[in-house]
Symmetry: C2
Subunit: 266 residues, 2 copies
């Protein structure tokens, strides 16, 4: 149960930056489960995916230290933050990497762009049980009360059950009051994509520039086993995410097309 | 065969920037297959993953236009470049998105960090047959002769066979002369991870900063069905990559642990 194991060590991060309400909400819940090392950036890192800071150095700054929490600011991306915390800041491997609570959903293919989910994937790559949480509400003033309830539920499950190697969880909470949420639904990632519309403008020097905008298009709105369906129908979606991106089922066909493994094709 | 279909429209990009030798090599081969729109950044975007430019505007600049090629510089990431090309620069959907040839391998979990593979994944999300090519040699002066041979082989296969929806190809070429390469091998993504060692330094003001370094650790060096094994044994590795990251096989277990789909769990 929550609160009983103060020895648990939890790495907490997000991609909305240090001052996001969703991060504070997650920090408070995680302190019920153990000692927290929090690392986040001073700026938003939304849409940074699994990007790493390679061309410039990283800086970290200790902001707060109490018995239950240690808080660092990091100049890098969410993936950078997990890497440097694991390598330089934590005295041992954490038990969990928990990321979020994101302001805005990370369902369907948003898992590929999300810095929040990148942090969880980075934890998984290091063999740590990891979860990303997102609320389907972009407002900085969003209400995280219902989200906190479901963070507790998922983490209580993980306190009793390890995840398989190479798998993390992508948890999305619909923007509804707790009493309106129907429960959790384990799902697959919905087939969809973002369709862009670049807003074309002129700068004060008369030069053209573009702002990225876009809207999500669900290719299978009727499929009730998907995260998009769950969220639209009032459920919390839980998608197990694999770091192995191999399209295993296509391997036999591809082998036949490429006459693979023949020696010397040239 | 190469060269016969000048009506084919091919979007070419990379993550090493406009001036990379591997991009020039890919451009030359792709002009044998059709008309090319090339878009790349003036700076290296290695390790940018699927990152999008959200907080600042994008700029594009037409650099060159001939009968067979149109070349643009883009201020953004590889994923940005594919998005803006599809939305603003191409007169119709391209037949292929081809990315690379990367200076350095993108095998195993590097697929998660690679800007080269992100461009291919972006093409796939838009329903376009897409491939990322990488050579296992980081040198700016690397020899791409053998790589060009295998680019032709893979693209000739794709000229005859469409990829399944949601699947692109991650092709890695070992750093060997053509006559030493044993052929192509269709593989799965090897289970491994990058282990970081942050180089801690002091700036001229006496403040600490860190440079990210790291080395790849293969968790299954004996597994002969993996890309890492293929490359170490002199084969070109071809991994079909799925944009669906769902860990499908874990869904039944997770459902049982979460008592999923029960209404009202609070």
């Amino acid at each position: 149960m929550a609160g009983e194991n103060k020895e648990r060590l939890i790495l907490v991060t997000n991609d909305d930056g240090l001052y996001a309400a969703g991060l504070r909400s997650l920090l408070n819940v995680m302190e019920e489960f153990g000692r927290v090392l929090l690392i986040s950036s001073t700026e938003s890192m939304s849409g940074m995916s699994q990007a790493l800071t390679i061309k410039s150095p990283l800086r970290v700054k200790l902001l707060e230290q109490t018995d239950s929490r240690t808080v660092y600011a990091c100049s890098g991306t969410p993936a950078d933050g997990v890497k440097i915390a694991m390598n330089k800041l934590l005295e041992r491997e954490p038990d969990w990497v928990v990321s979020g609570i994101n302001h805005g959903a990370n369902s369907s293919v948003s898992v590929l762009y999300s810095g929040t989910m990148a942090a969880a994937i980075e934890g998984t790559l290091n063999g740590i049980d990891s979860v990303g949480f997102s609320l389907g509400n972009f407002s900085p003033a969003a209400d995280f009360t219902a989200s906190e309830h479901y963070v507790r539920m998922i983490m209580n499950m993980l306190a009793e059950n390890r995840l398989p190697r190479g798998v993390c969880l992508n948890v999305n909470i619909p923007p509804l009051p707790l009493e309106m949420i129907k429960g959790v639904k384990v799902c697959r990632q919905s087939d969809g994509n973002w369709r862009e519309e670049f807003d074309k403008r002129k700068d004060p020097m008369g030069r053209t520039y573009y702002w990225l905008t876009g809207s999500f298009f669900n290719h299978e709105p009727e499929a009730s086993d998907t995260d998009e369906w769950a969220l639209k129908n009032g459920f919390v979606s839980v998608v197990p995410v694999a770091v192995d991106m191999t399209a295993h089922t296509f391997i036999p066909t591809l082998k036949s097309k490429l006459k693979s493994e023949e020696v010397r094709q040239n």
